[in-house]
């Protein structure tokens, strides 16, 4: 590896993005081992790299995903549970040159917010949706989400998620890629440095294609929820890397550029 690249990586790791609010201004929202703040940092880095902090407007729903937004020192709109794609529609239509994105959880986007998502996809709304997939409702205590794996124990599937009763995990990135009005759809994770760097690229591509007016862009990001998975932070990373990625393969599912 060339020395410059190593320095760049070290800089990325060590330097604090200016678009992250200082920690003393934040309510302590995350559990030990949660990688939602890693996603917050990732978004801040990308916005900063694109010099888009002045034009960025983040739209948030309800749940641990919204705490990611709280970390960012950009303009933010927080509304009811699941409605961030609608908020983003209103914000983007009023200021089409702004970079408007949502940060939502899997329950927020795919369950209660599914009709808002469908509407935005159908209209090819020029927004970016970033969805955190940790397979459970984190804030309310680890209940089953549309993304929970078959057999997964959650607070509302105490005997394990039974497919006959609860159905199968929803694959958002693959589904969203099938829409004509979607320019970009990808799934990443931040469990390893390599995955962090790929996901960073996905988010950047999604933001860029929004600014080009290519269509709706989407990035799903797998994160661990040690508290509600009842695992140690290290064990939850292993489970994510070995089991969750089996169900939810990483990569790009649609890219208008290719």
């Amino acid at each position: 590896m060339p020395w410059e690249e190593v320095i760049q990586i070290m800089k990325n790791v060590m330097e604090r993005p200016a678009l992250l609010k200082s920690a003393d201004k934040l309510p302590l929202a995350f559990c030990p081992g949660c990688q939602n703040p890693t996603v917050g940092r990732l978004i801040a880095e990308v916005l900063e790299e694109m010099k888009a902090g002045e034009k960025a407007v983040g739209c948030l729903g309800i749940g641990c995903s919204s705490f990611i937004g709280f970390m960012l020192d950009v303009d933010l709109i927080n509304g009811p549970h699941g409605r961030a794609p609608d908020l983003a529609t209103g914000a983007k239509r009023m200021y089409p040159d702004n970079l408007v994105f949502t940060v939502q959880g899997d329950g927020d986007l795919l369950s209660i917010g599914a009709e808002s998502l469908m509407g935005a996809l159908a209209r090819s709304e020029k927004i970016t949706i970033i969805m955190i997939n940790n397979t459970v409702y984190g804030t309310t205590g680890g209940q089953a989400a549309p993304t929970s794996l078959v057999g997964q124990m959650t607070a509302t599937t105490p005997r394990g998620k039974d497919a006959a009763e609860f159905g199968y995990p929803v694959h958002a990135a693959e589904m969203i890629a099938t829409f004509k009005g979607v320019a970009y759809s990808a799934r990443g994770a931040v469990n390893t440095f390599a995955n962090f760097m790929s996901t960073r690229k996905y988010v950047r591509t999604a933001f860029e294609q929004q600014q080009e007016g290519a269509g709706l862009t989407f990035v799903e990001i797998l994160t661990p929820c040690p508290t509600n998975w009842h695992m140690s932070p290290v064990k939850s990373l292993t489970w994510l890397g070995e089991t969750l990625i089996q169900e939810y393969p990483l990569g790009e599912f649609k890219n208008a550029r290719s």
Binding site: V74, I77, G79, P80, G90, Y95, N98, G119, A122
Partner: protein, 373 residues
């Protein structure tokens, strides 16, 4: 300078919105509101304004939330069932202090009851419907002209109090064509919206904005309690300053009709006929369903006047009148069961109101509403 046009009430609402500087309309088709969404779809883009047909009323109200949070002057329009769907977000808008203008062109219920006009959203509009403590000003136009004027007032009041304002019309008012003087009404300067999330680059201080509905948890207020204090002050101010009503021939009246919307025009005609027959009858026309004109109705009751409520429902405004009257006089009702057709359609006609006035005052064979006197 005004500009006289022949407009349906619903279209007059759109021209009022344009006069008020409305920049965006978000809506979903629903009868009897469709003239609004179709007009906006046709005309707004030509004027450089935003129009979006949402996937549902959940969509339209939340798009409105997003646009208002971006500092826009914007509105939505709907009818009963759509109005129901919007409640969660209206409650959130009150917390977020967003200046929403929402038009509810009432229709019948409960449930679907498609395309049957009625005035059955009074309680729903005045009592909130979303969770938590809140109040919205509810303006009740009774003509196409008032549709045009009241929506402008709604934009002004919404911005003044940073609180949603409802324009509650009905199918008869919304779809009746009348001459309207489309005139820009001046309510004074528009408060700045420096708080809005327009992108950090647009703020003079360069600081980021956060529009949220979690006052107390967020740094907007030092605590939840501080937010509630501010909210209660706002509600008190609206109650103090924004009660609107109109008295017609009430000075020497022995019976006063209380009505709003289309039934207030019906009542006015009945009052005129009664006066021709020498009956001392007046009309209090309610222009704000909330804050309700309790005081004037209370004074009327203290003078010993009997009250006749005319509303096209089973009796919702009656509850407010009951509070105002405080047991001091009889309250009678002409309601939805008094329509000229007992079946699906029909409306309350002046004849029926006049008959009831006679029954109360002359024949003395009308049973008042229970629970008073």
């Amino acid at each position: 300078m005004g500009d006289k046009r022949l407009l349906e009430g619903n279209v007059a609402i759109c021209w009022g919105a344009i006069s008020a500087g409305c920049q965006a309309f978000f809506g979903y088709p629903i009868t009897p509101q469709n003239e609004i969404i179709e007009f906006c779809a046709r005309e707004f883009p030509k004027m450089g304004k935003v129009f979006v047909q949402a996937q549902s009323e959940l969509g339209s109200i939340n798009m409105l939330y997003g646009a208002l949070a971006s500092g826009a002057r914007a509105m939505t329009g709907t009818s009963g069932p759509g109005w129901s769907l919007m409640q969660e977000t209206i409650s959130a808008m009150v917390n977020a202090e967003l200046p929403a203008v929402i038009v509810d062109v009432q229709r019948g219920g409960p449930g679907g009851q498609p395309i049957r006009h009625a005035q059955q959203d009074f309680s729903h509009c005045t009592r909130g419907g979303g969770s938590g403590d809140y109040k919205n000003i509810v303006l009740t136009p009774a003509s196409a002209q008032e549709c045009c004027d009241f929506v402008q007032l709604a934009f002004h009041l919404a911005a003044k109090y940073r609180n949603p304002v409802i324009v509650m019309s009905d199918a008869i008012i919304g779809q009746t064509r009348e001459l309207v003087n489309v005139e820009k009404l001046d309510f004074g300067p528009i408060p700045n919206s420096d708080w809005a999330a327009t992108g950090r680059g647009r703020h003079k201080d360069g600081k980021s904005r956060f529009v949220e509905h979690a006052a107390g948890f967020s740094p907007r207020y030092p605590s939840y309690g501080a937010f509630l204090v501010q909210l209660s002050r706002k509600i008190a101010l609206m109650e103090e300053n924004e009660v609107r009503h109109e008295c017609y021939r009430t000075d020497d009246a022995e019976l006063v009709v209380v009505a709003y919307g289309y039934t207030s025009r019906v009542s006015r005609e009945a009052v005129n006929r009664a006066r021709e027959e020498g009956l001392r009858v007046g009309l209090i026309r309610v222009l704000t369903a909330w804050p309700f004109p309790h005081e004037v109705i209370g004074q009327t009751a203290r003078k010993g006047c009997r009250i006749l409520v005319v509303e096209d429902s089973l009796g919702q405004m009656v509850d407010d009148v009951r509070c105002a009257v405080a047991g001091l006089t009889e309250i009678h009702l002409v309601g939805i069961l008094d329509r000229h057709l007992p079946t699906d359609g029909g409306m309350i006609l002046p004849d029926k109101v006049f008959d009831k006035i006679r029954a109360i005052m002359v024949d003395k064979d009308h049973t008042p509403c229970p629970g008073k006197r």
